[in-house]
């Protein structure tokens, strides 16, 4: 499955990058700097999407004690944290030429920063508790409490006045972005989702092997190699 996913991701990335960097016209206000959108927005979407994946699979692990759900939950955390970091860094690199500042303490940026701290808190808490199962339960509760932050991030640009622009795609009305700019953006978003699947599978495999040391199925695999 991994080679297929990798091929799919590379194809989507190639198409999305070509469409975004070459085919899409320059923005009439922002010139070529808007092209940062093709990493910034998918990364920001992923930072929230992965958080929800982490919280939901954490809840599943908490309620039904499914080991695999616990593993998916904790393995999502570092990937989500890296996307949050990317969203913040690329946002900063976009903010400097457009807003004239790297950082501003407004609602969108601050709530995204809190998201990063939530991810780091989850990772730290998991590593601080010796027993994996107990750690997973503690982490799931923390992740679920942190879900409050997700709608805050999304609506922050509407609830508070902000330097950050309002939603242009994720709203009920027609997206206010030209189709030639929109398509590469959506392709990049799908490519990032496939990337998440790949990174998640790789991490889960390690976590599973680590947890199941001494299990018979693992021994049999090791014997074959």
């Amino acid at each position: 499955m991994l080679p297929w996913l990798t091929a799919l991701m590379l194809a989507l990335l190639a198409y999305g990058l070509y469409g975004g960097l070459v085919l899409a016209p320059a923005d009439y206000q922002q010139g070529d700097s808007f092209r940062i959108i093709y990493v910034h927005v998918p990364a920001a979407w992923m930072s929230m999407f992965i958080y929800m994946m982490m919280a939901v699979s954490g809840a599943i692990g908490l309620i039904w004690h499914i080991k695999l759900a616990e593993i998916v939950s904790i393995c999502s955390a570092p990937i989500g944290a890296s996307f949050t970091l990317l969203a913040l860094i690329t946002g900063s690199l976009w903010g400097k030429p457009m807003w004239g500042t790297w950082w501003v303490w407004d609602a969108r940026l601050t709530s995204e920063l809190i998201l990063l701290f939530l991810y780091l808190g989850v990772i730290g808490l998991y590593n601080a508790i010796e027993d994996n199962r107990t750690a997973s339960r503690a982490v799931a509760i923390l992740a679920l409490v942190g879900v409050v932050n997700i709608p805050i991030i999304h609506y922050s640009v509407e609830w508070w006045s902000s330097l950050h622009q309002g939603p242009t795609v994720t709203k009920f009305a027609k997206p206010s972005i030209h189709i030639d700019m929109l398509i590469p953006l959506l392709v990049m978003a799908v490519a990032f989702k496939v990337y998440y699947a790949i990174a998640l599978l790789l991490r889960c495999r390690n976590e599973l092997v680590q947890r199941e040391q001494g299990a018979r199925w693992l021994d049999e695999i090791l014997e074959e190699k």
């Binding site: 070529d32 700097s33 940062i36 976009w94 790789l202 092997v209």
Partner: protein
């Protein structure tokens, strides 16, 4: 081509964004792959010790 690299004067911001994104995302798959090899090697060693 050079016009493309110039990015209408925003080259630094655009390419730094893409560069950092590439680095971070590459790290996110390379690290677990390395860990995997290391983990399997450790377990093989352990298993061989156990068999003896």
């Amino acid at each position: 081509m050079s016009e493309f690299l110039h990015m209408g004067g925003y080259a630094f911001y655009v390419w730094t964004s893409y560069g950092i994104a590439t680095l971070v995302m590459a790290f996110g798959v390379v690290k677990p792959l390395l860990q995997h090899t290391q983990l399997l090697r450790q377990l093989q060693l352990k298993r061989k010790r156990g068999l003896r």
